[in-house]
Amino acid sequence: MKSSNKKVFSRRAFLKSSALASGGMLIGFNLFQACKTDAEVPVDISKIHFNDFNAFIKISDEGIVTIFSPNPEIGQGVKTSMPMIIAEELDVDWENVYVEQAPLDTKNYTRQVAGGSQSIRSSWEPLRQTGATAKQMLINAAAKEWQISPEECTARLGVISNRTGDTLGYGDVVKLAATLEIPENVSLKDPKDFNIIGKGKGNVDVDKIVVGEPLYGMDYSEDGMLYASVLRPPAFGQKLESYDASEAKRLPGVVDVITIGEKYRAYKAAGHKSWAAQLSSSDKVVVIANTTWDAFRGLKAIKANWVAESPLESTEDYDAKLLALLGGNKFNTRRSDGDIKKAFAEADKVVERTYEAPYLPHNCLEPMNFFAHVTDEKVRLIGPTQTPEEAAKSIAQLLERDLETVEVNMTRIGGGFGRRLYTDFVFEVAEIADTVRKPIKMVSARENDMTTGVYRPAVKYRIAAAIKNGKITGYHLKEACANGSMYGIIADFFPAGAIENYQVDSATYKNSITTGAWRAPYTNFLASAEQSFFDELAQELNIDRIQLHLNLIQNVKGTPDERIQYSPERLEGVIKLVAEKAKWGQTKPGVYQGFSVYYSHNTHVAEIAEIVLEHGNPIVKKVTCAVDCGIVVNPTGALQQAKGGVIDGLGHAMYADLSFKDGVPQSNNFNNYQLIRMAETPKVDVYFVESDLAPTGLGEPTLPPIGAAVSNAIYAATGKRIYKFPLMKHFNEQEKVLS
């Protein structure tokens, strides 16, 4: 288990400073790469271009610290937690710290992506180094002022003191500090002395959110802006054949009706590829209007004819194909230990089960939208994206512009969950704005958003275990997934290493329904399948479910296998913590528990769900969750992420189902696609393992275990094993309390 980032950072390679003309000091730093040796930090704050440095700290003459945060905020709290790390090592009062979203100005950005729960993990060390180096520069300046050695000075909460009791504020010495050399060796704080990290900090935007300030892409507007809405093929596999816009053009507020698609096809024909764009190549009809409502109204009046260009699939079609793949032999082997053939041939008993999950839309509450203004000189793009760098690069290629002339500004994001890693909506608005040459905001209605998504793929797992002499001797997992398959290291998660003969195979089936990352990609359902399966194995072996896990984990301790991703000790830690906190096995009559544990995104999580039955239907009352994510940077944010992940995962496991008929998604809004609501929500108790290891991600890892925790509790309550999600499809539909 590689738990900390051991890379050595050279301060000179990623930090530079300048004295600001308006007063104060500006420190530019690059999180993940060395900056160009000739790069200069600007002396005017308005000249910040983020070309040479991807983030800046400004310390004013008054000692106020402004941190230009480099990562997009999608609700996972990095806009708060990353500056907290800098402020901790800089040692300033958090009250005096302001955070601004850094705009993107094309090149030299790395990992300015919010996804995979990696923001905190990959930047922990350099953020600390940055804060500590800045602090040392201020100390050096104060020492110079006092004509003493820096060793005789200390800094705390924005004030430097010496042994004779003199003090200087950071603001008093910034001018001098900016002219000093960047120190090479700075010491980092002992985690014991942290006074910002580990203390709950409110979301930095909360004051603005509760009064409705315009923060989101959907809220952005400027003078002369027009609104656009896009008519996309109603079925996956279709393309536009012809359309009639005469009625739409007569409607009030409609300015124009155009088509787009040609530029995107040319982009593809030129061999360009963007991993972040998932777009139908069909022409699309766009209504340009004075208001969003005018554009929506206009869209409904378009009469379009669509033709199939590839098979129009229904749920039963791809279900049959995925099952056939599981029964076939066209697999890509992801990992193979020992000899599973032999283990299964010699087994006393073989248990084999198949688990199935549907496509899922992301349903970010802020529907897809983006602003663009294209002129001869410049391309301005503003809106909610998780991948601004990729957007800038690909739009420059789409419109055949120099990258330097493409500017992307990020707004606060009304939910990402993976959806805003893809830039289909940026491609669309850029092509519209290039045609119309006016400021344009593209807005999708909910129905368009849900039915033209980039979905979590439908996926099926078949898992077999060989049992001999009361032990699991073989484990064979097969995956069949639409348009993708599990990525590299997932096969090295538990139970890899714990079972001698172990194999993971995957197979992919391609269709035209676009798929992509969805909160905790692949593991979001893989964990449900495996952790349900282990529940059955425990029963088969007549052993307590948690004891089975603890026994298996012993096999991994001290393993020389460097591929193993999880730590058996940390896994054991969360299992024991959750068992203790949830009082495993000691429930009141009528309350049933289900256990699940999973390692993903570098974080170990165990959960116990408690359900009761009402009119035969399972009601989840409580979930206890134990998390080992190393040092908890921001406990307030961490609790929110952990609880949100559990409830989000729970809601989707219980209710979520997107089916298709002839390529058309069968749900299109929240009246026919059920998201979890408050009255269905359990109380979630989260416990963090105390740790001084480097922090790991939290946006995703509490989600994967919950599906099986609930499914196993349902088995405990009803004797019913559920193999096909969503869970509530197997019960009488409750009366839906919808307003």
Binding site: G75, G77, N203, I209, V211, L365, G415, G416, G651, L738
Partner: protein, 151 residues
């Protein structure tokens, strides 16, 4: 195009709009009061909740002719300085994750507490059931409503 006089946050606005235009888009696109959010357009998610004469109402379903001669309150007008007890409770509990649904949640909660200042847990859960939070910050929303009810 017909014109309408709307009383929003104690100010009178005159707008020109087609009569099928929902109040939501009058607020957002005509008047740039964008605190009221667009989520679903069919009254299912509650992101667009405003007060009409003090009652929580879905502005995405209320066509503009029905929004005259009533007092409309939006998140921007709920309090002078963001200090309504519900807003304060939201800050204390640090409720928002992505934050997009929160204006609607606050408007639902504030109208509910006005009508029922001492609710039971069950009443809170039912009152807030019409508002979707896609980040699933429900535990914190529930706690914040409880906290506000004690102010």
């Amino acid at each position: 195009m017909p014109t309408y006089q709307l009383k929003i946050n104690r100010k009178t606005y005159t707008v020109e709009a087609e009569l099928d235009t929902p109040l939501l888009w009058i607020l957002r696109d005509h008047l740039k009061l964008v605190g009221t959010k667009f989520g679903c357009g069919i009254g299912q998610c509650g992101a667009c909740t405003v007060h009409i004469n003090g009652t929580a109402t879905r502005s995405c379903l209320l066509e503009v002719p029905f929004a005259v001669n009533v007092e409309i309150t939006t998140i921007e007008g709920l309090s002078k300085d963001g200090d309504h007890p519900v807003q304060q409770a939201w800050k204390t509990m640090d409720v928002p994750q992505c934050g997009y649904c929160q204006a609607g949640q606050i408007m639902t909660a504030s109208a509910f507490l006005q009508r029922n200042p001492n609710p039971t847990d069950e009443e809170i859960r039912n009152a807030m059931h019409g508002n979707i939070c896609r980040c699933a910050a429900y535990n914190n929303i529930e706690e914040a409503v409880k906290l506000a009810s004690k102010q």
